[in-house]
């Protein structure tokens, strides 16, 4: 079977073939497994390929649904899952040595929902350790490479999921976004990535990095598929106190096509400053011109605290992380080192061995910010700045329906290019952090290629306005009609 035929498929298209008996879930899976076998040795998007289990599930589904042609929304669809989402019986490492060999005894809520909708977990994808990073170079198990140029990063921390979808090793994937970890890799790999409103998707089973910022988001080749995934995973969960008490997202929330032309789009000036790579500005500006031609109104707005959001984030997120990662102590699960010299010896050796340098940096930063004498100066201050950042967005959305910005100020960079200076790496998230701090939803969509590399555009909406978000994203997608990625993965760069 040649996957090439499916490269522009949405989930509905697969279902049509299933219904006609022209394709079966197990055959589809086999095709993807073959693709993975071919390209993943170079790409390294997967940490675990769920071969037997997935095929078993596929066969079970086929048996149960024989002779039926109306399927649950994700029936027979393979989904790659970022390795910080707990999957029962399937190793979950969070890209860290400290959880090497950890097999969760339970499923995250999103996994339960996926499986109830008939989806099949095809494998677990690579990531920056504990979701801390913007390039997937912080994985303890080696980096993932950008499918468009193997010498470049796929972005992070959901780099594995992004690369897998872009390279068509899987039709859809789940990632997680704390400060940009779904949107930035989606942009670097030319696919769609949604960061939902905080609280829209249950975090039960998502290994926590920064609890007040983490969200699980769909990553897909089309807006349509992102919608399908989002409908299944979103909605209230009694096991997550921070999950909003609303029903799952429904596509009914998406306003009709005609309404798009009446929308006012805000362009925050802070996101279009000199610091942005001119090629990115060029591509996005071209898209904006076209949108104007289509009748949308573009206005300049200001989000004055954009510059401060990064610092506040690097106080708040590591603080929460330093506490969330205290449970990795060698007692109950994961790896253990030392202990011959007593309990403290076990703690120090386990954690010093098990955590990589970026995680250690953030634990130190976070512990410092929360420590006695510094709480007011750092953590409290960070939380106050967060309030100001939220207000920026509230004010902007009083006059605009949506905001449009670049996703990243930089192109997908080379492996090793930013690893020397941590702060350099942090700057890669400067456009994705503010909306995360405000808790508002945003989506990355591919809006073109420059020098053979994808350029992503970020659309931001007000809280719980994913419908409006999807509306414009779909509009842009149709307007641009870009070919869906199916890069030839090899040593030479190809577009």
């Amino acid at each position: 079977m040649n996957l090439e035929e499916f490269r522009n498929f949405t989930i509905q298209d697969y279902h049509a073939l299933f219904a006609r008996g022209e394709l079966s879930p197990s055959a589809l899976l086999e095709a993807f497994f073959q693709r993975i076998a071919e390209v993943d040795p170079l790409l390294h998007a997967f940490l675990f390929v769920n071969r037997e289990n997935a095929l078993e599930q596929a066969r079970r589904l086929e048996k149960e649904w024989k002779d039926r042609d109306v399927y649950p929304p994700l029936w027979g669809i393979p989904v790659a899952v970022k390795d910080n989402i707990c999957t029962l019986g399937i190793p979950t490492t969070c890209g860290s040595r400290i959880l090497e060999g950890f097999v969760p005894p339970y499923n995250a809520t999103v996994i339960e929902r996926l499986e109830r909708a008939g989806a099949i977990v095809i494998g677990k994808t690579n990531m920056d350790e504990f979701a801390m990073g913007s390039s997937t170079e912080n994985s303890a198990f080696g980096p993932t490479r950008n499918p468009f140029d193997l010498n470049r990063v796929p972005g992070g921390s959901s780099g594995g999921s992004a690369a897998a979808v872009a390279a068509f090793e899987t039709p859809v994937a789940l990632g997680s976004d704390t400060g940009g970890s779904v949107r930035q890799p989606a942009a670097f790999c030319g696919i769609v990535g949604l960061r939902p409103t905080y609280g829209r998707v249950s975090r039960y089973g998502l290994v926590s990095f920064a609890s007040s910022l983490d969200q699980i988001g769909p990553m897909a080749r089309t807006v349509e598929d992102a919608i399908a995934l989002f409908e299944v995973i979103s909605g209230k969960d009694e096991r997550d106190s921070t999950c909003a008490p609303y029903p799952p997202f429904s596509r009914e929330e998406i306003p009709p096509q005609e309404d798009i032309r009446t929308m006012r789009i805000g362009l925050p000036r802070e996101y279009f400053s000199e610091g942005v790579d001119p090629r990115i500005v060029k591509v996005i500006t071209a898209v904006l011109r076209e949108l104007e031609k289509e009748g949308l109104e573009l206005v300049e707005v200001s989000l004055p605290h954009t510059d401060y959001a990064l610092e506040a984030y690097y106080i708040v997120a590591p603080s929460e992380a330093s506490s969330n990662l205290a449970r990795y102590d060698g007692v109950l699960y994961g790896v253990r080192r030392g202990g011959d010299q007593g309990l403290q010896d076990m703690y120090f050796q386990t954690r010093s061995f098990g955590f990589g340098p970026e995680v250690k940096r953030r634990i130190l930063l976070g512990t410092y910010s929360l420590s006695s004498g510094y709480y007011d100066a750092y953590y409290l201050k960070g939380m106050k700045v967060r309030t100001l950042v939220r207000r920026d967005f509230e004010e902007a959305f009083a006059t605009c329906h949506l905001l449009v910005t670049p996703v990243s100020p930089v192109f997908p960079f080379f492996l090793g290019e930013r690893t020397e200076n941590p702060y350099e790496m942090y700057l890669a998230d400067v456009f994705t952090i503010p909306s995360a701090m405000a808790g508002v939803p945003s989506i990355a969509v591919n809006c073109g290629y420059e020098d053979g590399l994808p350029v992503g555009m970020q659309i931001i909406a007000g809280p719980f306005q994913e419908g409006v978000l999807f509306a414009l994203a779909r509009f842009v997608e149709r307007m641009l009609s870009l070919p869906l990625p199916f890069p030839k993965i090899g040593p030479e760069r190809r577009s």
Binding site: D240, S323, L332, L370
Partner: protein
């Protein structure tokens, strides 16, 4: 002890009587259970697990704070207390920091008839840790074992101001607190089982102006330990001060075996817990309606009940004090008095025979087969002189054992009422005849001889006679026989 100024504050933890744990649905019924069976991803702190508050735990904590007359804070906020220890699976405890459930409350209790008042600094709620064992068949080598069955059980923490001024006061305060949580049915309040734990801060100085150094005392596992530990510590500090030494703030452990406090070895620096609001639990406001509902469930508390018993039933303070220690017992008393309105008699019988029988079977009054009505009936019989008090005690024991009423017990045992004075007269004369020496002794002035004769009559009637009546008859016979 003269010229010694003692200041004591208590920090008390009570396990709340919920059926499920504080942040997950595991059962709280952990005593005697196989280790690590009442656990789940949440209370074991597995990666990805999240807490959800048990509403009942919150209600019981609020109830406790209200009963202690605290001001209830409008918003419920949880904080994380961060530190590493094997019984703490997440590496932090979910607790409360600057926004406890209640503040500025009051606890009143009595010490030898004098009413005392202790201010309550705060009441807050937090989760319990797991249990560490240091020896056992499973432990081979220098290791310890962890059991998480207890991890996540809801606790209410009650902190007093340092308003106590002697070990006696501290103990009585603790006893009152225990009784209150039992009255409220928020906790079992059992120190031996660990559902009530107490740490104390003791500070001694030789003059009222200079404050002493605050010494924390831990590991007191019974009321008696609390009293002894504090007494020891006060003496220890006083001695050092008198010898001119200065005391430092420290933590000490009570050694039950050696009956001394010993310094806790450990880090010199105070632990930095890095409290911050738990981002996994959203703060929310308590609805006033909820507060009203909970307030309505608070019963009459021990001190009020004691004072009312003293007023309404004219019971002396020591007796009233014992009666109200146990709410069920106090209610039993009142129910009985409603049918047999001689409170002193009821009280005496309860404090002697009823308690004795309860203790022998190691049960509480709730499990007693004897109801207040049944006791009332028995006591009425005694009042009407149908039976004597010592017979009544025996009958009660049987009632207690079998659940039969007084009359049924008597029928079963073949004890009949000796109402006929003529029968009794006959027995009395027989006894007088058979015991001339005793009669002579009595007539010579030996009171004891009379008792002997009464005893003989009682024996002859197998205890069925009313001893008062027997005594009168004997006296009549003996005086007439002169």
């Amino acid at each position: 002890m003269e010229n010694v100024y003692v200041t004591i504050g208590l920090e008390v933890h009570c396990q709340l009587l919920t059926r499920a744990k504080m942040f997950c649905r595991c059962s709280t019924d952990y005593i005697g259970k196989t280790p690590n069976t009442l656990v789940c991803p949440v209370c074991m702190g597995l990666p990805g697990a999240l807490p959800v508050l048990n509403r009942r735990a919150l209600e019981l904590a609020i109830k406790t704070a209200l009963a202690l007359q605290c001001e209830i804070l409008p918003e419920v906020v949880f904080h994380r207390k961060n530190y590493f220890y094997p019984d703490l699976p997440k590496g932090y405890q979910i607790s409360q920091y600057d926004f406890p459930i209640g503040v500025r409350g009051v606890l009143e209790f009595a010490l030898q008839g004098t009413k005392k008042r202790v201010r309550i600094r705060r009441v807050h709620v937090e989760e319990d840790a797991g249990k560490l064992i240091h020896e056992g068949p499973e432990l081979r080598g220098t290791v310890s074992g962890v059991d998480f069955n207890r991890a996540g059980i809801p606790l209410v923490e009650i902190v007093t101001e340092p308003d106590l001024h002697s070990p006696e006061e501290a103990k009585e305060c603790l006893v009152m607190l225990r009784n209150i949580v039992r009255y409220l049915e928020v906790s079992d309040g059992n120190m031996e089982e660990g559902s009530l734990r107490c740490d104390a801060n003791v500070s001694v100085s030789l003059s009222p102006e200079t404050p002493g150094a605050k010494v924390e005392i831990k590991n007191m596992n019974s009321f008696r330990s609390v009293f002894r530990a504090l007494s020891y510590e006060v003496e220890r500090q006083a001695e050092l001060l008198r010898a001119g030494k200065t005391l430092v703030q420290e933590t000490r452990h009570w050694d039950e075996v050696r009956q001394v406090t010993v310094p806790s070895r450990g880090k010199e620096e105070a632990e930095d817990y890095r409290y911050f609001p738990d981002p996994d639990l959203l703060p929310f406001r308590i609805a006033p309606a909820m507060l009203q509902e909970i307030q309505a469930t608070i019963p009459e508390l021990p001190l009020q009940k004691k004072e009312r018993f003293m007023r309404e039933y004219e019971l002396p303070e020591p007796e009233a004090y014992i009666l109200v220690q146990d709410r069920d017992l106090a209610e039993f008393f009142e129910a009985c008095v409603r049918e047999f309105p001689s409170p002193r008699a009821v009280c005496n019988f309860i404090l002697t025979e009823v308690l004795k029988n309860l203790n022998s079977l190691n049960i509480g009054i709730r499990e007693s087969k004897v109801t207040p009505s049944m006791l009332a009936e028995l006591l009425k019989m005694v009042e009407r002189k149908e039976i004597g008090i010592s017979l009544a005690k025996g009958i009660f024991e049987e009632m207690f054992r079998t659940g039969m009423g007084a009359r049924d017990v008597m029928l079963k045992k073949g004890i009949s009422f000796l109402t006929s004075e003529r029968d009794l007269e006959k027995v009395v004369r027989e006894v007088i005849e058979k015991n001339p020496q005793s009669v002579a002794d009595y007539l010579r002035g030996k009171e004891k001889a009379l008792h002997f004769l009464i005893g003989q009559v009682m024996r002859a009637t197998r205890g069925q006679a009313n001893p008062e009546v027997v005594k009168n008859l004997l006296l009549r016979e003996l005086s007439s026989g002169e």
